[in-house]
């Protein structure tokens, strides 16, 4: 199937839309989809609803695309968006890229700093130290203190093993 817009490339993104109670489907190639602002994998896609999509296609727009599914629960990100709920705890890693902009917007943060379950307290401490060390590493590199930077890098590697 060729792209509805350019008529040249293979269409591999399909949008269902409802206009005047009629369901029509739009077939686009990746380039044209991106041009129209439909890039599903960019950080633009808003959670929990496709603001951009519904804005352009009207209510009822349902994206149909071969997208990554969570290996643990088999749910795709568009399914997550349509229900507003993730499939399982693994989804947090699978869809991390898509979730981060939402977290930034809604939570004003992308990193947990509170309580941790038994057995995690130590790990949490290590992970915070690694974050600090990475900042130090950046500073050292900016200051061109390469010997110091190498030392910090080794320390980070060591700590990552613990994590």
């Amino acid at each position: 199937m060729v792209c509805d817009k350019c008529g040249a490339n293979e269409a591999n993104i399909h949008f269902k839309q409802v206009i005047n109670n009629q369901v029509t489907t739009m077939h686009l190639c990746e380039n044209c989809a991106e041009e129209l602002g439909f890039n599903l994998f960019s950080s633009q896609s808003a959670f929990p609803f496709f603001n951009i999509l519904s804005g352009m296609l009207g209510p009822g727009a349902i994206p149909q695309i071969k997208e990554d599914k969570c290996p643990a629960c088999g749910i795709s990100f568009s399914e997550v968006q349509s229900k507003g709920k993730l499939g399982c705890s693994e989804c947090w890693q699978t869809f991390k890229k898509q979730l981060l902009p939402f977290l930034k917007e809604m939570q004003g943060s992308t990193f947990h700093t509170g309580k941790s379950p038994k057995g995690f307290a130590n790990k949490a401490k290590v992970s915070r130290e690694i974050t600090n060390l990475r900042e130090e590493l950046n500073k050292a590199i900016i200051k061109e203190e390469y010997e110091e930077a190498a030392k910090i890098r080794d320390r980070i590697k060591e700590m990552e093993k613990e994590c």
């Binding site: 229900k83 947090w92 943060s109 992308t110």
Partner: protein, 348 residues
């Protein structure tokens, strides 16, 4: 037996906590999920049952829950489910979840919803403004439970929840405030919209989308990630204390102004509440609210806040029918409600 709860008055209505003249209750809720199970919304019946069994087993290993009772949602009739909602023991969402479970512990101080949006939702309810105490308690139970259950947790995002609006701490702290004076002078309309700027949200007596009947407002944190639990609670309490100050000022203004017009308003509300033959639940809440303010401002004789708090709850439709131990039509309820209120207030 769920029926036994109708005879008890939960502690969070006792008006014994700090600032209980204005803060009816505080609530701490934690959302938790179990590793290896799909989140409730996507889980099969089999998964949900397995998760529920696992949670029940773990709960039973903790002494604190020794006197607790659990009820399967699917085994409760509509009236009992509504009773639990009115009681603030379950959410409206849990009502329609067949594999849902409610565990009630420690005379309703702590309760645990199973298979709602998240596998586990604990909550502790307490009287007045004492959220940090409630947090200490819930957190203690949570830590014990994490020794028996493998929580879905990662260092980066904290406690993993089905919805990103709860991730991180999984904490929702809220206060139920009675703000009749701020409602009367309409300052409340200016205060509520400012809450979102400080990461808080306000709701009615029965949560999202419910009307603020009886001038009762629930204020809670919206942000759950990137701040420690104590920080979230303290920043909520700070704002609540400010609102308490505003309400006190407004109450003082009303008391200072006085005059027959104001006096009449309170006396009329009291007369209606104690003499009417028919009262709807909405009217009851409105009258109780005015009477509560009348007591606070000294225009009415002292009635314990605990008695008025209790009336807010027991005049609700399902409570009324559970008390009468039978189903009642709307008009029968209005009649029984009027009788019940008279009975509750006659010895005071």
């Amino acid at each position: 037996m769920l029926e036994k709860y109708i005879k008890e008055t939960p502690d969070w209505l006792s008006a014994t906590g700090p600032d209980a003249d204005i803060v009816i209750s505080g609530r701490i809720r934690l959302a938790r999920n179990i590793k290896g199970f799909p989140f409730s919304h996507w889980a099969s019946t089999k998964d949900l049952n397995a998760a529920a069994d696992k949670i029940k087993d773990s709960v039973n290993k903790i002494d604190y829950f020794s006197g607790s009772e659990s009820f399967k949602i699917k085994e409760l009739d509509g009236l009992k489910k509504q009773f639990l909602v009115e009681r603030h023991l379950i959410s409206r969402e849990l009502v329609s979840i067949k594999q849902g479970l409610i565990i009630i512990a420690d005379k309703e101080i702590l309760s645990l919803m199973v298979n709602e949006e998240d596998h586990i939702r604990f909550q502790a309810l307490s009287s007045g403004l004492s959220l940090l105490d409630a947090w200490q308690m819930v957190s203690g139970i949570d830590s014990l439970l994490s020794g028996h259950l493998d929580y879905a947790y990662c260092l980066e995002f904290g406690y993993l929840t089905a919805c990103p609006t709860n991730v991180g701490t999984g904490l929702r702290a809220s206060c139920m405030l009675h703000l009749p004076a701020l409602s009367m002078n309409r300052r409340i309309e200016k205060i509520l919209p400012t809450l979102s700027r400080v990461g808080l949200v306000s709701r009615g007596f029965y949560g999202e989308g419910s009307e603020a009947f009886g001038d009762l407002f629930q204020i809670s944190n919206q942000i759950t990630l990137g701040r420690r639990e104590e920080e979230l609670i303290e920043s909520l309490e700070k704002v609540v204390k400010q609102i308490i100050e505003y309400e006190r000022e407004s109450r003082e203004e009303i008391a200072a102004k006085g005059g027959p017009r104001i006096e009449d308003r309170f006396k009329r509300a009291y007369a209606l509440l104690t003499n009417a033959s028919l009262i709807s639940s909405k009217e009851a809440m409105e009258l109780i609210s005015v009477v509560r303010l009348g007591v606070a401002t000294g225009f009415l004789d002292k009635i314990p806040y605990s008695a008025l708090n209790k009336l807010f709850i027991i005049t609700q439709p399902a409570h009324l029918q559970m008390l009468m131990a039978k189903e009642l039509s709307a008009s029968e309820r209005d009649e029984e409600r009027a009788k019940l209120i008279q009975k509750e207030l006659q010895f005071i």
